[in-house]
């Protein structure tokens, strides 16, 4: 009976002196690895329009069906999205959309601090997506 008790206390003692695995979050911030998948980003063409060509492949491949796209065409025949929304409340950050994109228009950043007071505020619109994430 004594033996397991000492063993258990030993584990506790070990962790008392081992370096901490947690961080003091608001003061300290975790730096994710570059390959980490968090908030999406829409890359831009040279003229500042989104690079997306509205092929719907991301919306098709998306397993949580959280991407909604409405496309238009300019007078030269180039297609671009008028509306491109990702519902981050439903997104599972699998990165399939990035993989499916034939023109490398959509990417994922390491910005993981995603929050909002309402469900609607978690919907990522086109303009917001084209700005680099804050912070």
């Amino acid at each position: 009976m004594i033996k397991p008790l000492i063993k258990g206390l030993g584990v506790t003692l070990k962790h008392l002196f081992a370096p901490a695995v947690t961080i003091q979050y608001p003061e300290e911030r975790w730096e994710p690895y570059p390959r980490y998948r968090a908030r999406h980003i829409m890359y831009q063409r040279e003229d500042g329009r989104p690079k997306c060509v509205v092929c719907m492949l991301c919306a098709t491949v998306c397993p949580s069906r959280c991407i909604k796209i409405v496309g238009i065409q300019d007078e030269k025949g180039d297609q671009y999205p008028r509306r491109y929304e990702i519902d981050l409340g439903r997104c599972i950050f699998c990165g399939f959309c990035v993989e499916a994109c034939p023109v490398n228009a959509i990417g994922m950043t390491t910005h993981y601090e995603l929050d909002g007071p309402t469900r609607e505020s978690l919907i990522l619109g086109l303009e917001e997506m084209m700005r680099p994430p804050r912070g």
């Binding site: 509205v54 092929c55 719907m56 098709t60 409405v70 238009i72 929304e85 023109v103 609607e120 919907i123």
Partner: protein, 794 residues
């Protein structure tokens, strides 16, 4: 019967079958881009190459151009053939842009399919790609010539099959350009088929552009209900919106194609003003309240005036389920009706036409295609049943002789004889034609010769222009022609044949008379708009206003819906499905495509997302078809029919209306007409006795005038203006020329018309096509005759 071996399987096919079709019969689909069963082989794409190992021909050859013959041994998987096909795809892709992600065809593209299947992924040739300048081909077809692979399907359909000349092939060799001489709207009312048959994204559907990928949409087999032919279509819905209608192959009815009215007339289902929720006195309310109000209203009227004080009106566009339920309900309750037709004349004409056609052998589109003598009596195929014109053209291409007896200047994509006979003259001509040896030779030169060498005769007969006695005369005339003659009836609505079979004596006019006499106090309108195409608007408005209760069950934002006391929305054919009997008596069923509801695109305007509220169904869903609403009403007033679902309707109706239900869906009904009394109609006096007056004939055109497609915004760009057709001589005497603008006074409204002249129009006749309505809606009454004093230049 040639027997041949394809990939080790032996098959026997009728002589003349192409090897590609023989293989398809075995379930082996040889890739093809230019071959189309309706258009035949062109040998342009070289993709259907197979190896002929033994038999009359040997080597790698095109299976679409070679007829199956005895002793052929064909291998589709021979390494030589496979490598041939692979290289064909490589050079087809040499000039094809690699833009599948932005191409609207991506996902249902034949070229994409074969390219992926062949494994081609890298272009070896480093030179530039061939490019073209695109044209604007109007509101329906989007051209992107860079994607063209020169299969010639579009030209072969447009010029050879459909017979229009404004779109074709220009240039030679690899610079061949498929388009018009200059940008402009395609003239053919069948232009939408170009989208269906184009194997790449060179010609794509403009109205549904960028809306959805093929795998995103909800699709179901459905029916086109924009005329009486009952063409088969596939309907796509996306985000609660109908986005596209395509032709669905049915060898017995429409074949591979449909007309543009059927293809782009679907938009009434997405109409922004479509009734979506029940309303009482114009105020939206819940389903239960609206039904309760309706029941209370009906019971009150019944208590005060008896069941005969309730009139029931439906129309030719109601589904068979609705018609049957309504008929049973009227029998059960003793309500007046149901009335399916505007007036007695239309009812008798429709019945008579059904009777005449069914007793002489009714013809469908396939019989028209096989005929070698076609006589059109009182029908304008392009306007009333557009696909019929294509069928007539196919017969004409095989050498058939076509003649028309119609006062309208008919336009058909073929050469034919026309005589503008009408009324008395038509009757006389038919009588003479039936009596004398040379028949109609006097009015239609070439008739006698064509009749002598004909084996299959089809008489196309419509009830709109000809009067009752001419219809009957026509029946006699056809029986004189002998057993080889059949009648192809052209009705007005998709379910007219069923309506004339189920109709009692009531018509809307007779009910209106009873309303004026005070016998009818309440009206139940089921998918009917009496204001559509009426000549008696003023009278109609007065009688509807004098009613104590108007209950409307409908899905259109029609005029009567606006005047309804109680409005109950119903489901369209896309949401509820339904059965329809087409002009040849073929019973066909449509499946529901989607659940319906307010289209999400409309919700997205302004708001970022649809409102997050909790409900069982999608917002604006009209879950019930009209027959379901009727059953519920019947149950609530204590006259339940013991029907719960569609199958029950079939069961009950089979017992009650056996003539309609002897067949399984897809087959033809056999019904001897019946119920047409010989003395049914008193023939009216010819009112145009004085030489100054002209008889008025109201007609409709392809894209304007049909009830459902009238609400489709997709067709707005091609709707014609109001036109008035005069006899050429009469018009020139009065100094009117083609294209002049005139005002015609009708009551206190002046309606603008554009003048059209034709030598075919009888001199005492004025043909009016209201076109896309407009001021027409204010005309309170269209008189039977119009004098020159009422016509003035604009």
């Amino acid at each position: 019967m040639p027997r041949l071996t394809i990939d080790g399987q032996v098959i026997e096919v009728p002589p003349g079958t192409k090897v590609i079709d023989a293989a398809e019969a075995l379930g082996i689909v040889i890739p093809r881009l230019c071959y189309h069963p309706a258009l035949g082989p062109a040998g342009a794409c070289r993709l259907c190459a197979v190896s002929f190992l033994d038999g009359p021909v040997k080597g790698v050859l095109m299976s679409c151009s070679i007829e199956a013959r005895d002793g052929m041994v064909v291998s589709t998987e021979h390494p030589e053939a496979v490598s041939f096909r692979k290289q064909v795809i490589e050079w087809l892709m040499m000039n094809h842009p690699h833009d599948c992600p932005v191409c609207d065809e991506g996902g249902h593209c034949l070229l994409q399919e074969v390219t992926v299947a062949s494994g081609h992924c890298r272009r070896r040739y480093p030179g530039p790609k061939r490019t073209f300048v695109d044209q604007d081909l109007g509101p329906f077809v989007q051209q992107e010539m860079n994607r063209c692979i020169h299969c010639w399907r579009c030209r072969r359909f447009y010029q050879d099959y459909a017979g229009y000349r404004d779109f074709g092939a220009l240039g030679i060799g690899w610079r061949t350009y498929f388009g018009r001489a200059t940008s402009g709207v395609l003239e053919s009312p069948f232009s939408g088929n170009l989208v269906d048959i184009c194997p790449t994204g060179a010609l794509t559907d403009k109205p549904s552009r960028f809306m959805a990928r093929r795998w995103d949409v909800e699709r179901a087999p459905s029916l086109c209900i924009h005329c009486s032919l009952g063409c088969n279509v596939t309907v796509s819905a996306h985000l609660r919106e109908i986005v596209q209608v395509e032709a669905r192959y049915n060898g017995d009815v429409n074949g591979h194609f449909i007309c543009d009215r059927g293809r782009y007339g679907f938009d009434y289902a997405n109409h922004p003003l479509r009734p979506r929720s029940p309303a009482v006195m114009g105020e939206e309310t819940s389903w239960s309240k609206a039904i309760a109000q309706a029941v209370a209203g009906i019971e009150e009227v019944t208590r005060a005036h008896g069941p005969k004080a309730i009139g029931v009106v439906s129309s030719e566009r109601a589904s068979l389920e609705a018609m049957v339920t309504l008929s049973l309900l009227c029998e059960e309750t003793g309500w007046e009706g149901p009335a399916f037709f505007q007036d007695e004349e239309t009812l008798v004409k429709n019945r008579l036409l059904a009777q005449v056609a069914l007793s002489h052998g009714i013809a469908g589109l396939r019989e028209v295609e096989k005929a070698d003598l076609i006589l059109i009596v009182g029908t304008d195929p392009i306007c009333e049943a557009p696909l019929l014109a294509l069928a007539i053209r196919q017969a004409w291409r095989r050498g058939a002789w076509v003649g028309a007896l119609d006062p309208r200047p008919i336009e058909l994509p073929l050469t034919f004889e026309q005589s503008g006979l009408w009324d008395e003259e038509l009757k006389k001509a038919l009588l003479k034609g039936a009596q004398r040896e040379e028949g109609l030779e006097e009015v239609l030169p070439g008739w006698k010769e064509a009749l002598d060498r004909s084996r299959e005769i089809v008489v196309i007969l419509g009830p709109t222009v000809v009067d009752i006695s001419s219809l009957r005369r026509c029946g006699e005339f056809v029986s004189k022609l002998g057993k080889k003659a059949r009648i192809f009836p052209v009705f007005r609505g998709p379910n007219s044949l069923a309506a004339s079979a189920l109709s009692r004596e009531s018509t809307f006019r007779s009910l209106a008379r009873k309303i004026r006499e005070g016998k009818i106090k309440a009206l139940l309108l089921v998918e009917a708009d009496p204001f559509h195409g009426t000549k008696m608007r003023g009278e109609l408005e007065a009688s509807i206003r004098s009613l104590e209760l108007t209950i409307v069950i409908d899905y259109l934002p029609s005029e009567v819906v606006k005047r309804a006391h109680i409005l109950i929305p119903s489901a369209t054919i896309y949401e509820g499905g339904g059965s329809f009997i087409n002009q040849e008596g073929r019973l066909q069923r449509a499946s529901p495509v989607h659940r319906g509801g307010i289209p999400l695109r409309r919700n997205l305007q302004g708001n970022l997302r649809p409102p997050r509220t909790f409900a069982k169904g999608p917002p604006g869903e009209t879950a019930k078809s009209s027959w379901q609403v009727l059953l519920e009403l019947g149950e609530r007033i204590g006259k339940g029919l013991g029907i719960e679902d569609k199958e029950d309707i079939w069961k009950v109706a089979r017992e009650r209306f056996p003539f309609l239900w002897q067949v399984e869906p897809g087959g033809r009904i056999s019904w001897e007409g019946g119920g047409v009394q010989e003395e049914a109609m008193e023939e009216e006096e010819d009112p145009s006795q004085s030489s100054q007056e002209m008889r008025v004939l109201l007609v409709t055109s392809t894209f304007a005038g049909e009830e459902l497609s009238q609400y489709s915004s997709k067709l707005d760009p091609v709707r014609n203006e109001a036109r008035a057709f005069f006899n050429e001589e009469v018009a020139s005497q009065r100094g009117l020329r083609r294209g002049d603008r005139i005002w015609i006074r009708m009551g206190d409204v002046r309606v603008p018309f554009s003048v059209k002249t034709s030598p075919k129009v009888p001199s005492k006749l004025l043909i009016l096509d209201p076109g896309n309505e407009g001021l027409w809606r204010e005309v309170r009454e269209v008189s039977k005759t119009i004098g020159w004093t009422e016509i003035e230049r604009a």
